[in-house]
């Protein structure tokens, strides 16, 4: 077929016009409708968030959480030590002398470090002197999970635990930067020589991975409570359970007592509550 230059130029011109014009047309027709729909909702949400008045939306299914009752811990100060030792033993957590290499699953911290956004001005003496139990908050909206480039850390939909797959961790430490609670530790050295006693049912970690509390997933599977909770058994210092089950012990306690979460204004929705 003999293509004429005139016809070719006509077709090319029409095609170019259509190509340039189509996206503009689509944008024009859709943006008006979108703006009307979105504007109101976005406006409301930002206004609420700005005032810190975002009610926590209930997530679906089981959401495991913990209440730490500091009144019990201040009555029996050795309780927290027992809980920490129980955790370290259960998970082969190494004990380093230098703080740089420190690995922490559950540890002690003073009030002003645990709750930096709560006033510590004229703090009650018992709170000021108390060692708070700190661990991973197993947030409902975990920033560490969003930061992880390999999906080595993820939220288990089944129970809301923020878990880790150490096989997949590349040690980039983005999650450590993302976690607002300092709940993650990096293995700067081979941890093995610093583990005093092995639990033969649990692995250790290797140099170059990040680790943290796993809410004792492996113990829950056996129908046991987390190691720290078990160490405080009978005292009510640590209560563990499903935050979405209105009949659970933890919810009964939260309904009755005033509890605070660490830095709730960030919107990470921590699952660990403190009764101060």
């Amino acid at each position: 077929m003999d293509k004429q230059r005139r016809n070719f130029l006509k077709i090319a011109g029409v095609a170019a016009l259509a190509g340039i014009g189509a996206p503009a047309l689509v944008r024009l027709s859709s943006s008006a409708a979108l703006a009307a729909e979105h504007g109101a909702a976005v406006g409301e949400a930002t206004a609420e968030a700005a005032h810190g008045a975002v009610a926590e939306a209930a997530s679906q299914g089981v959401r495991l959480g913990m209440v730490i009752d500091m009144r019990r811990f201040s009555e029996q100060p050795e309780l927290l030590d027992n809980a920490i030792v129980a955790c370290n033993d259960a998970h082969n957590v190494p004990q380093f002398d230098n703080r740089k290499s420190e690995i922490k699953w559950i540890w002690k911290a003073p009030f002003e470090n645990v709750f930096p956004y709560e006033s510590s001005y004229h703090l009650a003496k018992k709170v000021k002197d108390a060692d708070f139990a700190v661990l991973c908050n197993h947030c409902d909206d975990p920033p560490c999970v969003r930061a992880c480039p390999t999906k080595a850390t993820f939220k288990l939909e089944k129970n809301g635990i923020v878990a880790m797959d150490y096989h997949r961790c590349i040690g980039c430490r983005f999650c450590m930067a993302a976690c607002p609670y300092g709940a993650r530790s990096f293995n700067w050295e081979d941890p093995r020589p610093y583990i005093a006693k092995y639990n033969k049912d649990f692995p250790s970690r290797m140099r170059g991975v990040v680790e943290k509390c796993n809410f004792c997933s492996e113990r829950l599977a056996l129908g046991q409570e987390p190691a720290c909770v078990e160490a405080c058994q009978g005292t009510g210092a640590m209560v563990f359970g499903d935050l979405n089950d209105a009949q659970s012990e933890i919810r009964q306690l939260l309904d009755k007592e005033f509890a605070i979460q660490r830095n709730a204004a960030l919107g990470t929705k921590p699952s660990v509550f403190y009764i101060v």
């Binding site: 878990a163 006693k197 033969k200 290797m206």
Partner: protein, 132 residues
């Protein structure tokens, strides 16, 4: 062909050189490894011998994903005995000697799986007093 006198002997030397590992070992692949059978006398594994021989690495990967990612920690039952999914909790319960079982083939095949960077071999676990 030009330079026949240098090219052909050169080629022969080259072929002999690259096949050195083959003829030096007498055209044999060495003694095949004999991984130790469970010292406890267990006869049945979670899958057939052929399957385990070819696919134990895939099975371990599946177990890992089941346990860590899907939260499915269901037990595996073999001849009435329950095993929890896991290298330390299932495999090493019977194959209690890593050096004579795992390493015998892995060394022969020159593969270096990094399982033991984190997982505790029975020997390593026994080297430090157990928690429970």
């Amino acid at each position: 062909m030009y330079n026949k006198g240098t090219i052909i002997p050169g080629l022969i030397i080259f072929v002999l050189f690259v096949t050195f590992p083959i003829w030096f070992n007498g055209f044999k692949a060495g003694t095949p490894p004999k991984p130790e059978l469970p010292p406890g006398g267990e006869k049945k594994c979670v899958e057939s011998v052929e399957y385990m021989r070819a696919n134990h690495m895939q099975l371990l990967d599946e177990w890992r994903d089941n346990v860590l990612r899907d939260g499915n920690r269901s037990v595996v039952t073999v001849e009435g005995k329950d095993y929890r999914k896991g290298l330390q909790m299932a495999c090493m319960q019977c194959h209690s000697n890593k050096e004579k079982f795992c390493d015998s083939c892995h060394t022969y095949a020159a593969v270096n799986p990094y399982c033991w960077d984190c997982h505790l071999s029975p020997k390593e676990a026994a080297s430090k007093e157990e928690t429970r």
